[in-house]
Each structure stands twice: as C-alpha cells, then as structure tokens.
C-alpha cells in the first residue's frame, strides 16, 4: 500500500465576487510509497504549491481525494486537522517560517509542545537531530541572528521532531544561495536514506535531481514523470533539463 495516494484531485478557486473561476488543479493523480523521495516540478502558477497545501490539509480540495496511509484526509474533522498535521506531517517552507519570538531550540520544540509532549522527551529528541543537522551551536540563537542555510536546517529539525510519516518541503532551496542549497539537499538525501519519505515541490532542477522520482505538473495536471532508476544525479539532472525545456516551450512529452 502506498503511503500517499492522490486521486483525481481538483481545486477551483473562485474570485471574491464569484465571477471568475480559476482551476488551479484539474485532475491530479499520483502516489508516493514509503521511503520514497518525490520531487514535484512545475512553473510558477502550475499549481504545485496548491497541491502541497491540499496534501498538507491546509486547504480543502474541490474534488478527488487524498489518502494518507490508506485513510482519507478529507474525512478528518476540522478540529482534528491541526493535531493530524503536527503528529503525522513535517513541513519545510521556502521562507523558513521560524518565529522571531522564539530561539531556535524553542522553534524546533514548537510542534511537540503543541502536542503536549514532556520537555525531557523533547530534549532527548533534539540532541541527535541537532547533531545530524549541524545546528547544535545555534540552538540558543534567535532566527534573525543566523544565516539562511542555518534557518532552513533548523526548520528541517522542527519538521522532523515528531517523526512525521512524510516530510513536505515547499521550495526549500528557494531562498538559499547555491552552497547552502547543496548542503540542504545533501541533508535531504541523507534523511531519505534513513527511510524518511519526502515530498518536495521545487522548480530547481538541481534540487529535483536528488529525488528518486520527479513529477512534472503543468496547467493543473500531472504532465510527466521521471524515475531515477540507475541514473546518477547528473544524468537525472540532464533528463530533467530536457523535460523542463519541453515543458516550458509548450511541446508534448516524448
């Protein structure tokens, strides 16, 4: 059974006065197996962030369904959604979304504190994680005191604190320089090797070529997908680039 199943997902936005309807997602179907590292690629406005928000239960779909571990996400009542998010999912955002009012340690603790965990347990969990993400030294600092790469690693630590079924990342390298990006992607690969399922939205081929599978979205539909198979990162990168060129110049997939 796949970890995540997305069936004929549809999302239509209606403008405030109801006159114009925008179809962000028309018909999206795909699945993610446990331990997989899936990248979703698409241009700005292709609907990839909408897709992620729907899977993340931050938004409700217009049609279709999302199954996580075989259970329909839309069946979860509104009041349990927040708990579901913080227990089962981990998030990494493009703009980090760390809170300025907390130091890094407390930022990382946030989801666990919200689920009422004991602070001793939190301490036990953060130590190996901080070690692995190289943020042990900055735990006491505040978000505005550290670099973008450090912020993003802190955000990853926050996302992993609750041992999520799936780590979801929305353009995680979007606000980072190339060195910090590489570092972060290496980390993602490392985490994935430890059987952590990752679903990442990006429009950077460099980021996507580390994944085990790449989905391409265009105009609200899954347009193509690439499996890594035996390819190296570089080979996958080239395949992605080719597909991307076709995708953006409007041709049909080969």
């Amino acid at each position: 059974m796949p970890l995540l199943e997305v069936n004929q997902l549809k999302k239509t936005y209606v403008t405030r006065l109801g006159s114009v309807k925008v179809e962000a997602l028309k018909n999206v179907t795909f699945s993610v197996d446990e331990g997989e590292y899936v990248a979703i690629m698409g241009e700005s406005g292709s609907g990839k962030t909408t897709l992620l928000n729907l899977v993340a239960t931050l938004d409700r779909p217009t049609g279709g369904e999302i199954l996580l571990e075989g259970k329909s996400v839309s069946a979860i009542p509104e009041k349990n959604l927040a708990k579901f998010r913080r227990d089962r999912l981990g998030f990494v955002f493009q703009d980090f979304n760390l809170l300025d009012t907390f130091n890094i340690r407390d930022n990382i603790y946030l989801p666990l504190v919200l689920s009422g965990a004991n602070h001793k347990e939190m301490e036990a969990r953060i130590e190996p994680l901080a070690e692995k993400l190289h943020i042990t030294d900055i735990l006491k600092k505040y978000p505005y005191e550290i670099s973008g790469g450090q912020k993003q690693r802190a955000a990853v630590a926050r996302a992993l604190m609750n041992h999520p079924a799936m780590l979801m990342a929305d353009e995680p390298t979007g606000a980072l320089d190339s060195k910090a990006s590489d570092q972060l992607l290496k980390l993602f690969a490392e985490i994935n090797r430890e059987k952590q399922t990752i679903l990442m939205v990006t429009h950077s081929a460099r980021a996507a070529c580390r994944a085990s599978r790449v989905l391409f979205i265009r105009d609200g539909e899954v347009y193509h997908q690439l499996y890594r198979g035996q390819m190296t990162d570089d080979e996958l990168y080239h395949r992605i680039s080719e597909t991307w060129t076709v995708l953006t110049t409007g041709g049909e997939a080969t």
């Binding site: 931050l58 927040a82 979304n97 809170l99 407390d106 919200l114």
Partner: protein, 662 residues
C-alpha cells in the same frame, strides 16, 4: 494639483484604520478645548460674584491649557504610529519613482485636509455642545447671576491656531522622516529583526526603589498639611516607577517563567509567555502610559466628584452651630460676664438659646512628633506646615460644657485630635501625661475647618506648670469661645450677630470688650455655600473635561496597540497554523495574551488609586472635607464605571484585532 489632491485623499482613505482614530482624536480634542476656552474667556467669568474674584475663570483657564497639552501629546502619539505604519507605503512610492518633493506635496495636502476635518468637525461639535456645557457649568456651580452663552472669537482663534500648529508639526515630522531615509530602508522598515529583550537591572532596581518610595510616602503620610507638599513628588516617583516596572520587571518575570521548563513547555504557556515577552519589550511604555492615564482619570474624577458630593458636609463642618463667638484676651474671671452679655443679646434680638457651650482656653501652635508635643511660641507663618493647632482646655471647662465628669488628676490628660493618635502617654515640654483619647472629639467639633488639630484637656494646675515651663505664665493669651444654636428667624439671628460683633470686636458693655469675631450661620451660610458650590463645581467641571481627555488618550493608545500587534501577530499565527496549531488553539492563546496585556494596566491603576487613597483623603481634609467614607464610595464608584468603559473598549478593539489576525 488635482493629482496631488487625489493622491492625498486616497492616502487618507487607504489608511483609514489609523487615520480615523487620529482625526477623531483631533475632532474631540478641538471640541473640548474650544468649549472650555469659550467658557474661560466668557466676559462675565472674571467677576462671577459681585467681588472681583476670578478663581473660577483661572481654574477654567488652567483646564484649557492642560487639555491643550494632552491634545498635543496624544496627537503626536497617534501621528508617530501613522508614520511607522506608512513607511512601507512611502518607500514604495519612492521606489516607483515619486520624488520626495511630490510626496511632501501630497502629505501637505493630507495635512490641510486632516487639519480641516479636525477643526471643522471639532468646532462644529463645540458650537453645538457649547450651550449644553454652559448649562452644565451653571447647574453644577449653581450660579445665580444671569449668565448667557456667548460666542468667543478669541476662543475660536486660539483653538484654530493651536491645533493647526500641532497638525503642522506632525506633518513636518513625516516629511523629515521621509527625507532622511533611503527608500529601501523604508520598504523594509518594519521587518527588521527584534533583539531578544534583556533584563535591565538598573531600570528594575530604580523602578522598584522609586515605586517603593512613592508608595511609602503615600502610606505613611499622617500630616495633612505636608501631604499637599509631598503629593506631587510621590506622584512623580510612582509615574517613574510604573514606567520602569512595565519595561523591566515584566521582562524579568517572564524570563523567570521561561526558565522554568515544566511551566514554559506547555501548549498554552509556551506561545503566551514568549509572545508576552516580545510584546512587553515593545509595549512596556505604552502599557505604562495606559496605566498612568487610567490612574489620572480615576484620580481626577474621584477627587472632583467627592468635592461636589461632599459640599454639604464641608459646610456643616464650617458651621457646626448657628452662632459661634470667639474673642481674644478674655481672662477666665471675665468669662461669666461675656457669656451673660452674649446670652442677653441673643434673647434681646428675639432668639432662644439651645446647645450652649462657653469656655476659655489657650491656643498655640504646636509641633507633634509621635507622642511628644512642643509648643511653638513664635511660629514662622511662612513655614508652618509642620505645625499643628493646639487648644488647651481645663477639665472644669470640659465638665461644665459636656456634663461629663473626668476626675482628672495631676499627670493625666484627655486628648482629642483630628488625626490618629495611638499612644498611652505623651509629653508636653518636659511634662509627662498618661493619655486618654476621646474618640468623640466633643470640644474639637467647635473648632471648625482646619486639619491637624489637637485639643488637650488638663487640670488647671498642670496647665499652669506647662505655661511656666515656656515662660508664658501670667501673660498667657486666653481665648473665649461661645457656641450655641438659636431658634429665631434668619433676620433675628442676623440682627443678633450684628449686635454682638462691631468693629472686629465683641462688645459686652462700655467697660468690657475684646477683639474677636462672631460667625452666624444665618448670616454667612448662603454666601459660603454658593462660593463653595462655585469653586468645587468649577473644579468638577474641569475635572470632567480632563477625565474625557485622559479617557480618550487611554482608548487611543489601546486601539493603536491592538492594531499594530494585530499586524505583527497575523504573521506569527499563520506560521503556527502551518506547524500544527488549530484555529481554536490560536484563538485561545490570543485571548489569553490580550486579556493579560489589556487588564494589567487597569489592575496597576487600581492599586495606585488604593495606595493614593490616604493621600487624597488628607488633601480633601486640607480643603475642609472629612468624609472618608463618602470619598471611598466615590472612588469605588469611579473605579467601577471606569472598568466598565475599559471593558467596552476592550471588546471593541479586540474585534479590530481579530479581524486583522484572521
């Protein structure tokens, strides 16, 4: 020009959430200022009573300028909020290629418009309500002279010039701010990282010390005359202390809470404590201001209400009996002749006597230090706030007039005092006495008005010993006092007083007279009553205006605080939602924080008022008001009404806050 005008107009419209309160503050303050000024500059106000007594006009005049001063403060405050909030907007205009000159021009248009709105609205409201204010003043002051509302061009001009100046300075501040910063700074202005607040130890210690000193002054004050002098000092200490406390102590406490892990890492406390810590750094000053202003509202209103409500008691204090005669240099031997002659005058003028007392006594300035009393023979009239009035009376006089028997022996004394005296013994000079305190203060009751009064009842032998010690035996100044209620008509009573009291003397017969005075309730009550009503009514009237201004300021600060926090919190709460906080949890966190932040100043204000209570009763006592219970009722009433208003403001502003956060 039309473009600039349109641009300015849309600038106001787009920022209406902040502009409307700004303009509203302007309108209300203009109206209040104008109304008070019209009254203060009224042609008849200078000589309200037949004499040229201009106390009320002066009072109103001071009120006008205090209102003006606080208008300035509050308009400045809301303008700096406007400035902070619009930085991004101005930055964007510059980036989009609008020159500073053009921005300044459009801001000038905004200035013209906002001044126009504030002045036109305020003056219009002022003109409409002027009649009402006028009637209110006449009603409160109970003025009998015919007083007609009149239009004062001076008042209008002063108002217009003052507020135009305030708005113009505000405009200049905006322009200078824009001219002195680079566009990119303006665009990013509000997003710079906040430093972790540190505990400011010096401020913490200073604050605790000055608040402690202020409170100690207020709580240990036992001398009414001194109270007036130290009051303002204590007020300054408490104001300073309050600011320090809100800035430093709140942060220290929150940091302590954060250190306590088992408390801090709980779902509700986690976000609340860190949020509060963040807020306190930014809002310490704002919260302290709210708390000080609330205290001022409460103090002003409670004091002035007490004055007006307490006028009857004040007058009763002033005229304890219908007729009160006091004369100097009346020896005890002549006492009977004086009493006889006065009684005859009373009956001759058609009155009958009841509740009669008459006695001779010694009257000195005294210095009371705990239970040691020293007589001051040559009091310094310019520095006498330490002095108490000391009446010394023989036990026989007391017994004769009260019908009680005391059986005083050598070394025993009965003491009556207007303030607390909790000792069993006392000394006068070198003499020691065992003291019985008379709670009824029967003799003291005839000594009208003054605070810090002591009345000693001793045996004649002991009195002689004391006089000897001070070297005033033989030439001791003795006073004669006669008090009685009369049953005649008003005219008969006045006739009696006039017969008794001629050329500052009390004349018994051609051989015997003494300097002195007679106070007749019938003769003087009406005038005293109308003067008291006018003075205290005038104070109350000004108090109402000031109360409104302070209240408005409080509401303004609260509103801006909620709005600005709303914008910041909106971002934070969207992050929390993403990492797994539900709407309900967010809402309850918000409520917890808001309520705490909101009601803390009120709590502090109430504590301030309670501590200041003793002070206020003493100041009221200085003015001749001795009804502590009444004052307590007034204070509690004011606190309740204020809390209600405060709560209403909370509900309104919380709504605005939720709208932004969502």
């Amino acid at each position: 020009m039309p473009f600039t005008l349109r641009f300015a107009f849309s600038g106001i419209l787009k920022n209406r959430q902040i502009y409307i309160p700004y303009l509203l503050t302007g309108v209300v303050n203009v109206a209040l200022f104008y109304m008070l000024a019209t009254l203060a500059y009224h042609s008849k106000m200078q000589n309200l009573f037949d004499s040229d007594d201009d106390t009320v006009a002066k009072m109103l005049g001071y009120g006008v300028w205090i209102v003006g001063l606080f208008s300035l403060v509050f308009l400045f405050y809301s303008n700096s909020f406007l400035l902070k909030h619009r930085q991004k907007e101005f930055g964007l205009y510059t980036v989009l290629g609008m020159g500073r000159k053009e921005i300044a021009r459009s801001l000038f248009c905004e200035f013209l418009m906002s001044t126009g709105i504030a002045l036109a609205g305020g003056l219009l409201i002022g003109l409409l309500l002027n009649r009402l204010a006028f009637l209110l003043l006449i009603r409160i002051m109970n003025i009998k002279t015919i007083l007609k509302p009149e239009f004062s061009s001076k008042a209008m001009l002063t108002t217009a010039v003052l507020f135009a100046c305030i708005f113009f300075v505000n405009f200049l501040r905006l322009v200078i701010r824009i001219a002195s910063s680079r566009p990119i700074e303006l665009v990013h202005g509000s997003n710079t990282g906040e430093k972790e607040p540190r505990i400011k130890w010096i401020l913490l210690i200073l604050g605790l010390a000055s608040l402690g000193a202020g409170y100690t002054l207020a709580l240990t004050q036992d001398h009414a005359a001194k109270a007036v002098k130290t009051f303002f000092f204590a007020v300054l200490l408490v104001i300073f202390g309050t600011y320090c406390l809100f800035i430093a102590v709140s942060i220290a406490v929150l940091k302590l809470l954060r250190r306590k892990k088992s408390f801090y890492y709980k779902p509700g406390n986690f976000t609340a404590v860190s949020g509060m810590l963040y807020r306190m750094k930014q809002n310490g000053v704002g919260l302290a201001s709210i708390s000080i202003l609330s205290t001022m509202v409460l103090l002003t209103i409670a004091m002035t209400v007490s004055l007006v409500v307490g006028i009857d008691g004040f007058l009763k204090n002033l005229f304890p009996v219908d007729l009160s005669v006091t004369a100097i240099w009346v020896s005890p031997e002549n006492e009977a002749r004086f009493t006889e002659a006065i009684r005859k005058t009373i009956t001759d003028s058609g009155n009958t006597v009841s509740d009669e007392t008459s006695y001779t006594y010694y009257w000195y300035s005294g210095r009371v230090d705990r239970n040691r009393i020293e007589i001051v023979l040559n009091p310094d009239i310019f520095d006498d706030e330490d002095d108490n009035q000391l009446t010394i009376l023989t036990d026989t006089a007391y017994e004769k007039n009260t019908g009680e028997s005391l059986n005083l022996k050598h070394g025993e004394a009965v003491l009556e005092s207007s303030s607390d005296f909790a000792y069993d013994t006392m000394s006068v000079g070198h003499m020691r006495f065992s003291v019985h305190r008379n709670e009824d203060a029967k003799m003291l009751a005839y000594e009208a008005g003054e605070p810090d009064r002591y009345c000693l009842i001793l045996t004649q032998a002991d009195i002689d010993l004391i006089l000897m010690e001070y070297g005033i035996d033989g030439k001791a100044k003795t006073y004669y006092s006669y008090n009685a209620n009369l049953s005649g008509t008003k005219e008969q009573q006045i006739a009696c007083a006039e017969a008794l009291f001629k050329d500052n003397s009390i004349v018994v017969d051609s051989n015997l007279s003494a300097r002195g005075y007679a106070i007749s309730k019938a003769q003087d009550f009406d005038q005293a009553a109308s003067a008291a009503t006018a003075y205290y009514g005038g104070l109350f009237f000004v108090g109402i205006f000031l109360g409104i201004v302070f209240l408005l300021g409080t509401v303004l600060i609260i509103y801006y605080k909620q709005i600005s926090e709303g914008y910041e919190d909106a971002e934070r709460f969207s992050v929390m939602r993403k990492v797994g906080m539900s709407q309900d949890e967010i809402r309850s966190t918000i409520r917890r924080q808001i309520i705490l932040v909101f009601f803390l100043p009120l709590l502090v204000a109430v504590v301030h008022i309670l501590v200041a209570f003793r002070y206020m009763t003493q100041i009221l006592q200085m003015m001749g008001f001795e009804y502590t219970q009444l004052f307590l009722l007034c204070t509690v009433g004011c606190i309740l009404v204020f809390a209600l208003v405060y709560g209403a403001v909370y509900l309104l502003t919380a709504k605005a806050y939720y709208r932004i956060v969502k």
